[in-house]
């Protein structure tokens, strides 16, 4: 019976062939969760559609000044000439989508809208994410009474339904500016992110590699920063993607309630839909339809991507 060197009888080319064949069939064995998920994501048509929508939206947002025919806040004499309170001029030469209720170029406002909407959505999400992650990380890392306190606070915040909390925050704000809206929408998400991260970190805390690190005497701060946090972030990132859609919908709802961004010079889709859109639904439905469609599309894009990410990261789907 031969020992460890039993393959000596094998010709070299065949050995290579085995290695090659082995490598092929064992694909998917040692690949990390995230890379694996990424691969599955790329194969998922839903994710592709979502990502494509977002990409398109991003490109328009970034290159708005190049794409848009005009300045979005300029009032044009040729548009104000025919503008009255009960009729808004439609398409004309140089103004493919016609005027908005103040004689500004509607097409340009739609295009710049991508930028402003992205701004509101991203900031609201990021601020929520930042504070949520901070609170969640502190709670998850510290444990004890700190954890209890933070969780109680998030309980109080979660006690109010999201949009209601945002409405209340706007009502309770000292000033009403675009930031009021962004922060109100952001704050709503803080407890969600905090709880998500904390839960995931608690699971991490008991995991083997954290226990091992602790046994090796790694400093607590390093354990949290290097081991617990990165591994807990994936769930949070997925949530952030989904949050973006909610954020722009909430911003639109606030505008509709008259509690949104008060600066109507700002071309933001939610503002355009919630303020002018519904008012001019009969006089010029495009003023409502275009921003609404844009919002639906973008929300759809982020939802599609977020859900596919969640699906891809779900260990249950690793087969």
């Amino acid at each position: 019976m031969s020992g460890a060197g039993g393959i000596t009888t094998l010709a070299d080319h065949k050995r290579r062939r085995i290695d090659e064949l082995t490598a092929r069939t064992s694909e998917g064995g040692g690949v990390s969760l995230i890379r694996d998920a990424g691969r599955r994501l790329l194969r998922n048509p839903t994710a592709i559609v979502g990502a494509a929508i977002i990409l398109l939206f991003l490109i328009i947002a970034i290159f708005a000044p190049l794409v848009a025919p005009h300045d979005p806040v300029q009032r044009f004499p040729e548009l104000t000439r025919d503008l009255t309170v009960d009729s808004v001029p439609g398409a004309s030469a140089g103004h493919p989508l016609g005027s908005d209720p103040l004689g500004r170029d509607f097409a340009s406002r739609m295009i710049y809208g991508a930028r402003q909407t992205l701004f509101v959505g991203v900031l609201a999400t990021l601020i929520g994410l930042l504070f949520g992650v901070l609170l969640g990380a502190i709670a998850g890392a510290a444990g004890g009474w700190v954890d209890v306190l933070i969780m109680r606070v998030t309980d109080v915040m979660l006690a109010l339904p999201s949009l209601l909390l945002a409405i209340t925050l706007v009502a309770l704000a000292r000033e009403s500016t675009q930031w009021t809206v962004i922060i109100a929408v952001a704050v709503v998400n803080v407890p969600i992110f905090a709880r998500l991260l904390r839960g995931s970190m608690l699971a991490q805390r008991e995991s083997d590699h954290v226990l091992a690190a602790r046994a090796l005497g790694v400093r607590r701060r390093d354990i949290v920063l290097r081991h617990m946090l990165p591994n807990s972030l994936t769930a949070v990132i997925v949530q952030a993607t989904l949050t973006f859609a909610v954020a722009i919908l909430d911003a639109a709802a606030l505008s509709f309630l008259g509690l949104g961004d008060p600066d109507i010079n700002r071309a933001e889709w939610g503002l355009m839909l919630g303020v002018d859109g519904v008012r001019y639904l009969e006089v010029r439905p495009e003023l409502a339809y275009f921003p609404a469609l844009a919002i639906i599309l973008v929300a759809l894009g982020f939802t599609l991507l977020g859900e596919s990410m969640r699906e891809a990261l779900d260990p249950k789907n690793r087969r």
């Binding site: 109680r152 309980d155 109080v156 979660l158 006690a159 109010l160 339904p161 999201s162 949009l163 209601l164 409405i167 209340t168 706007v170 009502a171 309770l172 000292r174 859609a245 919908l249 639109a252 709802a253 509709f256 309630l257 008259g258 509690l259 939610g270 839909l273 919630g274 859109g277 519904v278 639904l281 009969e282 409502a288 609404a292 919002i295 639906i296 599309l297 929300a299 759809l300 939802t303 599609l304």
Partner: protein, 335 residues
Amino acid sequence: MVRVVSRRLIQLFVTLIALMTLVFFWLRSLPGGPVDALLGERATPQTRELLTRALGYDQPIWVQYGRFLKNVVTGDFGNSIRTGEPVTDVISRSFPATIELAVAAIIIAVGLGIPLGYLAARYRGRLLDNATIIVTLIGISIPIFFLGYLLKDWLTQGIHFFPPSGRISTGMDNTDVTGFFVLDGLLTREFDASADALWHLVLPAVTLATIPLAIIVRITRASVLDVLDEDYIRTADAKGLRNATIRKRHVLRNALLPVVTTIGLQTGALLAGAVLTEKVYNWGGLGTLITDSISGGRDYPVLQALILLAAVVFIVVNLLVDLSYAIIDPRVRVQ
């Protein structure tokens, strides 16, 4: 069970006190507020001073807080600035309107959502499934006030199929017993009022139901798919049970567990959605009250009470969901 409930109630109490204190001090620190709201454009500095004294705003904040707490504990939330009525009256009048709307929406969302989600899962990958997924995705992505406006525009204006707003036809002169108009009509045998109220309920309820419906469909679908993968379904198959039995007895009951949680979570979304829906349909409920209390004049007493109420409702609903969970899931029952 009793311990769970009582612990939750204590938690509710603590949350409320914290919330109340926070809201009180915050409101007092804001510009404008009751004095501004109570006085129109015609106020002279003289009336302003009178009012400040009358409301006790010249007293130290701790005195005001003490009085506020004392009042709240005795169930007195003060009077609405806008209407001058006791806040409790205003709220107890608006509450049934919103509950009526929310219940109708939940009935629609659950009644349609569970079967639809189930069917989508059953015919996974087929046309019905794909169509359902797309429609629900749009349902989640559409701003619901816009949807409300569209529905209203299409179904109440060109063709006068549904009434455009309100809870009941003007001048119906229905007898108000419980505040739930549909129910009142049945109780008082004013069936025309009941039918009229129901007819008014359709569009708002459908609008409000959109998001919960979409979410319930998606959760049900995912949950059914999960359950179909479970070992005990294989066991049931191995027993040779009929498909119908498996579906009813084994799949549905287990698949409903996460759906019940979702329904509970959606109650919150429903309250938020009610703010928009009620504004669109001039529905005199809590949502309208919230909007009016804010933009119609910073009606802080009402706002204060509403915030507390929303928290109570949310917490109570979650408690109910947990309890119903215990009923459906025997694993929870023993703990």
